[in-house]
């Protein structure tokens, strides 16, 4: 089990009702971790439309979930 902090932005934060949560997970990689969060909060966006960041840097969905990591799910951006 890894203890991680998840950051939620924009529509994900609205759906989760929180901008972050800290939890323990057995998810083997970041993709599975998003799957867990998605079913728990009912996120509309599939993993294919998101990017993921770990500790402030973009990461890969197949990366393992590291204990103590701060993980951000990045919905499609709309700045500018």
């Amino acid at each position: 089990m890894a203890k991680v902090t998840l950051l939620y932005f924009a529509s994900l934060r609205d759906a989760a009702g929180a901008s972050s949560e800290t939890l323990e997970t057995a998810a083997p990689d970041l993709s599975a971790l998003y799957g867990e969060a998605r079913s728990r909060h009912g996120f509309a966006l599939p993993v294919e439309r998101l990017r993921v960041a770990v500790d402030g840097a973009f990461a890969r969905w197949e990366d393992a979930v590291r204990d103590g990591a701060e993980i951000a799910f990045i919905p499609p951006v709309s700045g500018g």
Binding site: L7, F9, A10, S11, D14, L45, R49, A53, G56, A57, F58, A72, I74, P75, P76, V77, S78, G79, G80
Partner: protein
């Protein structure tokens, strides 16, 4: 000094332009994105930008570094607002200076396109009809917004 910044308050553009002045620079191109009163035909009352600030500043910095390399410009910088904005407010500013105008224009255009495509900033629009929502475009196209 960092070249990309997230600003949670209105910012002055004069000092941004001034820091790009350079004796070798013959050309300067700038882009500004303003909050407009409509989006895809719907009247807009106002909007809010939110960012994952830490990652947005790192990614913006990366974009500006890439632009210097790619276009051989002398310098460039950009600032993006977050928070509540009204119609006419400045949302994003990009400037690039170069010896010649080709490079200044091309770099400025490339930077705003990359910022819109890569930097973790999200727009929440409030419409005149009472609806509101986050914009999560399927793909950033050159004409999707300002």
């Amino acid at each position: 000094m960092s070249r990309f910044r997230i600003a949670d308050q209105p910012f002055d553009i004069a000092p941004l332009r001034a820091r790009l002045l350079h004796e070798r620079a013959g050309a300067f191109a700038a882009f500004e994105g303003w909050v407009r009163d409509h989006n895809e035909g719907r009247p807009v009352h106002g909007l809010r930008y939110e960012a994952y600030v830490e990652l947005a500043e790192a990614e913006g910095e990366r974009i500006l570094g890439e632009a210097l390399e790619k276009f051989g410009i002398l310098d460039a910088c950009a600032v993006h607002r977050v928070g509540d904005l009204a119609i006419g407010d400045l949302a994003v500013w990009v400037g690039a200076s170069a010896a010649h105008r080709d490079a200044a224009f091309d770099a400025c255009r490339w930077i705003i396109d990359e910022v819109k495509a890569r930097v973790p900033i999200w727009k929440h629009e409030r419409y005149a009809d009472g609806h509101a929502g986050w914009l999560h475009p399927r793909q950033t196209t050159p004409s999707d917004a300002g």
